[in-house]
């Protein structure tokens, strides 16, 4: 078999995406069901409003940062597909960054390419970009932040982190693990932190990791405040506040309500993958008590906290688990959220001891099976008008069970490998 080079994989992915965008144009013009994501029309309308000097929030259901409408302004004067090309380019960039991160961590070329293909040829992801969904931009930013951290560039990482939280809010869950990983033990003055190489994943890494855990944990409490952590915190916070403040200055409460508060307080009674949807619908006529809100927040919060405390030094792995858990326990889950963890999945595959035969395949089929099962009941409710609320809710429970099954298997088969090598105990004096 001819050797697959990363360059050819990327080229093929690019051609594939262009073909899909062109096909989408054709389907939109000729078929009753459109290929283009409904949100893409929302973005485009908002961008057109902005281009004509109006507020993008005049378009109802536009619930994003004004930056997104700004990026899509060429939709109205260049070409309506501009945004799709932009999103698909970010989608390719994600593939490129995955490959880059894996190379930096010493993963062999072939394995890096195969891992990147898990993103580039994932039907979930290539359709999302070509249908005009903005998530690939967010994904590429997250991966770029990882690279900045790996290259000891906390200033740039902080800037992009502030920006990405302004854009999409959910990456706020990554704040704590990032702060933890900016461990003074791993960072020394005028010296880049040493990355633990993939080849050490089974032998020395266990030793390193155990020491990293003891010292890292101890260190976390003893020298909580370090130069890098402070810089990262202040800079990312400032970027977030400046962008949010500027948007508020330009578009007022409309922006704050639609782009920020809506996402923070969103409870959706309409059917979605979340286990909470039916409960919310059944209680929509009365306000939820603080106790109820707290109880529903507790599982999500606890899982996040434990995952961070246990896995933060292996940052890509920690971020992946956090994202899967965050989505699985969220009050609203739509299919586009899956992209948030799909972009991190290739980053953990080389450290997984799970064989595709048969455990790997079992995980994939359980996850896809549970989702297809849910979609079947969803179809019966939405498109056939059957009263299957109860069955659909049970399908949501099954989907959470599937997510849990996959997470447990992924954790148990993972070879823990901290991102950075702790330099030595003397580095405690650093910072």
């Amino acid at each position: 078999m001819a050797e697959i080079t990363f360059r050819s994989v990327l080229l093929l992915s690019a051609v594939f995406r262009v073909v899909l965008i062109l096909y989408g144009e054709w389907q939109d013009a000729h078929m009753a069901v459109r290929y283009t994501d409904i949100d893409y029309f929302v973005f485009s309308d908002a961008a057109a409003l902005m281009a004509s000097g109006k507020s993008p929030y005049e378009r109802s259901t536009y619930r994003y940062s004004p930056l997104l409408a700004f990026l899509l302004m060429p939709n109205s004067f260049l070409h309506q597909s501009w945004g799709k090309f932009l999103f698909s380019a970010s989608d390719l960039l994600v593939g490129l960054l995955i490959h880059r991160i894996l190379k930096l961590r010493g993963v062999p070329e072939k394995l890096s390419t195969y891992s990147a293909m898990v993103w580039l040829f994932n039907p979930f992801t290539f359709t999302i970009g070509t249908r005009g969904n903005c998530e690939p931009i967010v994904c590429s930013m997250i991966l770029w932040i990882l690279i900045c951290l790996m290259k000891d560039n906390p200033i740039q990482a902080a800037f992009w982190y502030g920006l990405v939280v302004h854009l999409r809010i959910y990456p706020i869950i990554y704040a704590l693990p990032i702060i933890i990983i900016l461990d003074p033990l791993c960072f020394q003055h005028s010296k880049k932190p040493a990355l633990v190489q993939w080849s050490f994943r089974t032998s020395e890494s266990s030793l390193d990791s155990s020491s990293a855990e003891i010292i890292g944990f101890w260190n976390f409490f003893r020298s909580l405040i370090t130069w890098r952590r402070v810089v990262f915190g202040i800079l990312s916070g400032t970027t977030f506040l400046i962008l949010t403040g500027l948007s508020f200055y330009l578009y007022g409460w409309d922006f704050l309500h639609e782009a920020l508060l809506y996402h923070l307080t969103r409870t959706d009674p309409r059917h979605n993958f979340s286990i909470y949807f039916y409960h919310i619908y059944l209680h929509y006529e009365h306000e939820f008590s603080i106790l109820e809100k707290l109880i529903s927040f507790l599982p999500q919060f606890t899982v996040q906290l434990i995952l961070i405390l246990r896995f933060a030094p292996d940052l890509p792995f920690c971020l992946f688990l956090q994202t899967v858990a965050f989505v699985a326990f969220n009050k609203v889950i739509t299919a586009q959220y899956f992209v948030w963890f799909f972009c991190l999945l290739p980053l953990i595959l080389p450290w997984s001891n799970m064989r595709l035969k048969w455990r790997g395949l079992a995980c994939v089929s359980v996850w896809i099976g549970a989702q297809t099962h849910w979609l079947m009941w969803g179809y019966l409710l939405e498109f056939r008008g059957k009263n299957v609320f109860l069955q659909l809710w049970m399908a949501s429970l099954l989907f959470l069970a599937a997510n849990t099954f996959v997470m447990i298997n992924v954790i148990r088969n993972h070879a823990f490998c901290p991102l950075f090598k702790p330099s030595s105990s003397k580095s405690l004096k650093d910072d």
Binding site: E382, F383, G385
Partner: protein
């Protein structure tokens, strides 16, 4: 010729009326728009009054004594399955033979004003998509346009759709033609109940309108279709049964939901804690 003089007389009448009320002729694109400018929210009786009395004030004028296009019969239906359906009004139109030439020159359209019950909504952006594709000449939604609220938090909306009568139809020899106007509808989440919640549609207001240009001002002359033609609400109620949540599920659903969330969270926590980093 007679028709033109009627148009002229009516335009004088509306000018006088507008002067009396101290209003200049506004150029509202929609009949319902004039109503919502005045009343802000939809009240069935007010709206009926408005349709009956106030239209002449706007750029729309009611044509009472002369028939331009008449409607012979109407049949209405809710078609489709599931949460996304169509409210279809099928009308058979008749054109007076002697007026055909004038009708071809002035563009004529059918205007349907539907009052939607609070359990359903129509998406204004979807309607615009139809306008862009030339299915409708104009379409707008007035009233509560928040698409995402369940029905118990939303109000009635009014949809106005204009569909042009193809001039090709008028050029044909026949004096009759069939027009089918379909409004795309979506179900909101219904109040809790048992099984299905029933949404009933009231009678629409249907007009046939033709535009005429006088002294560089384009006016639309509209003629309401006699309500006697519109199928009786009581005799053949037009309805849609939408699945609704069952209140009796509430206790079990809440308990199992939280129990399940807590146990799966616990499983993940235990796996993480017992994970050995070897």
């Amino acid at each position: 010729m007679q028709c033109v003089s009627v148009i002229f007389l009516i335009s004088i009448k509306s000018f006088v009326l507008a002067s009396i009320y101290g209003q200049t002729c506004s150029l509202d694109e929609y009949i319902a728009e004039s109503y919502f400018k005045k009343y802000h929210s939809f009240i069935e009786r007010e709206f009926d009054n408005f349709i009956a009395n106030k239209i002449p004030l706007g750029s729309y004028k009611l044509l009472e004594d002369k028939n331009l296009v008449t409607v012979k019969s109407i049949s209405r239906n809710v078609i489709g399955e599931g949460s996304h359906r169509w409210l279809s009004s099928s009308m058979s139109l008749k054109f007076p033979h002697e007026l055909k030439r004038e009708l071809t020159a002035s563009s004529c359209e059918v205007v349907v004003i539907e009052r939607l019950p609070s359990g359903v909504f129509t998406d204004p952006f979807e309607l615009q998509h139809f306008v862009q594709r030339g299915v409708f000449t104009d379409a707008a939604v007035f009233g509560d346009t928040n698409l995402e609220l369940p029905s118990f938090r939303s109000n009635q909306t009014v949809v106005e759709i204009h569909m042009s009568i193809d001039s090709k139809v008028l050029l044909r020899d026949e004096d009759e033609s069939e027009v089918i106007l379909k409004v795309p509808l979506h179900a909101r989440y219904q109040p809790l109940g048992h099984g299905f919640s029933r949404v009933e549609f009231g009678a629409p207001n249907i007009f046939t309108c033709c535009s005429s240009t006088e002294q560089d001002v384009t006016k639309k002359l509209c003629q309401p279709i006699p309500t006697s033609l519109i199928p009786e609400k009581k005799a053949s109620p037009l309805m849609w049964e939408i699945p609704c949540g069952n209140k009796e599920h509430a206790a079990v659903v809440s308990a199992v939901t939280f129990g399940f969330a807590i146990s799966t969270a616990l499983l993940i926590v235990l796996t993480s804690v017992s994970y050995s980093r070897q």
